[in-house]
Symmetry: C2
Subunit: 290 residues, 2 copies
């Protein structure tokens, strides 16, 4: 049981974490800070946090657990604000969707004081955002990727693992590098494709009419296009090299399909679709509460 | 009430139509034909059809309603086989996802005998296929696009509209051309993107590991990649011009995102994602039973 959670960022991810910790009786008190005072006030009103902190530093003061739930590009600045109060017995975690940049920021700012920082990525996104959508069940049944580095204390990693498991999560550990490569392929690039599809359709004079005809396939395919712009702006820029690499490989796969289509080569096209269809039909979400 | 449905193609779409017609008491008898005898036998066994026909022509014999539920590339050959028994008082419909090629095939084969042919596209796809997945509720609450041409009898169009409405569908009418443009944008291109993403990931040495990490966003985005290869091979080739045009517009939208990312231009990137996110958040499936 933690005495005090210092929550920096009271949006969907941070707010849901606070609610989950409270529901599981894992924390006594939540002190929250958000860049926007109205968000912090709303978090208090909704019972997501117990105390409003006027600054990130004051949210950390007295905490034995700190969660950074800010867009990844704000990680470095946030760590700078709080570093003086970070102590080795504190467990500090983030929830960013990219990990190399977060780890690099932590190295630069925390230097020899980063043993208690455990980088985390919960695979529990949603196309809704904001504290009003905070949900104590968001993380339950989901997977959490932890990406410790050589300077991370193994004891802190174990503490973080235990905490997430207590919230009903499945925890796996990988390096920040392999995390970023894998998620460029299965998450970041798909988001880009969904954003581009929406923009491509709405840029056409009759785009609205086309959209009114779209069915369930489009609904599911495009759901992630509604994701939080600031969060995704940061992730796409933070992981740009890996995304560029995945984008190139994707472009090759598109070119193969395009060629088979324009050649009217039914055999080749069927075989390409077969591979895709087979791979997708055999894929299962490893763990999911829904 | 129809006396006899001649069902050509007893897969997911055809089988579900037969079951829906029976459940709604709209047909007395279903005579079915499939290219593969084992499919027809299975359809009989499952109660999807009442009588097995040894040929498409014999399925049409005595029918007052005919449904072509074959891959769109098979439309012309199928119409050739049955044209001698098609009479003006018969309602003949198809369920293909592309419409210009279907209408062209009908013009070539049926010539002056096509007044009873009403081209239809039910927006009710599924990533599963085959008669074993046939479902009496597949069309309920879904939208049907009807694309009549000048030679189509208005009375037959009204009959088709009534039939689909009796099955719980929302019916809209458009030209085959505008249908194909719109669906290239909201359905055919998204399928291509989903196929290409799966192929791109599985072509990488560590692709399997990446897939094991994928979450709910990937699940929804990629669902349509599991669609029936033969059906989609035909649709992508049939509608290739419109798909190429949409593919080009999509490529421009991707290039905009790529440029903002590689320039690290957060302002521009956020504004691009904002447009996409806003458009998707404000989109609603016009009608859907789920």
């Amino acid at each position: 049981m933690f005495e005090q959670l210092g929550l920096i960022g009271c949006g969907l991810m941070g707010g849901s974490f606070a609610l989950a910790m409270k529901r599981a009786n894992l924390v006594k008190r939540v002190v929250g800070y958000s860049k926007s005072p109205s968000t912090t006030a709303r978090a208090l009103q909704l019972g997501v946090i117990d105390v409003e902190a006027p600054s990130a530093l004051l949210a950390v003061s007295g905490a034995d657990l700190v969660l950074l739930a800010v867009p990844v590009a704000a990680t470095e600045a946030t760590l700078k604000t709080i570093r003086h109060l970070i102590s080795p017995d504190m467990l500090v975690m983030d929830v960013g969707s990219s990990k190399r940049d977060v780890v690099d920021a932590a190295r630069r700012v925390l230097r020899n004081n980063m043993s208690g920082f455990v980088p985390c990525h919960p695979i529990a996104g949603s196309e809704v955002s904001g504290v009003d959508n905070a949900d104590a069940g968001l993380y339950n049944g989901k997977r959490i990727v932890i990406t410790p580095i050589d300077r991370t204390s193994p004891a802190k990693v174990r503490q973080a693992e235990m905490l997430w498991r207590d919230l009903g999560c499945d925890v796996i550990t990988m390096t920040p590098e392999s995390h970023d490569t894998a998620f460029a392929a299965v998450s970041h690039l798909p988001h880009m494709l969904a954003f581009a599809l929406m923009n491509s359709i709405t840029s056409q004079p009759d785009g609205r009419d086309y959209l009114s005809l779209a069915g369930p396939g489009f609904r599911d395919f495009s759901r992630i296009a509604a994701s939080d712009p600031q969060l995704w702006r940061d992730v796409l820029i933070a992981n740009r090299e890996e995304i560029a690499r995945q984008s190139e490989l994707f472009e090759r796969a598109m070119a193969q399909l395009r060629r088979a289509i324009s050649d009217g080569d039914g055999e080749e096209l069927k075989s390409l679709i077969n591979s895709a269809s087979h791979a997708r039909a055999n894929w299962r979400l490893t763990r999911d509460a829904h």
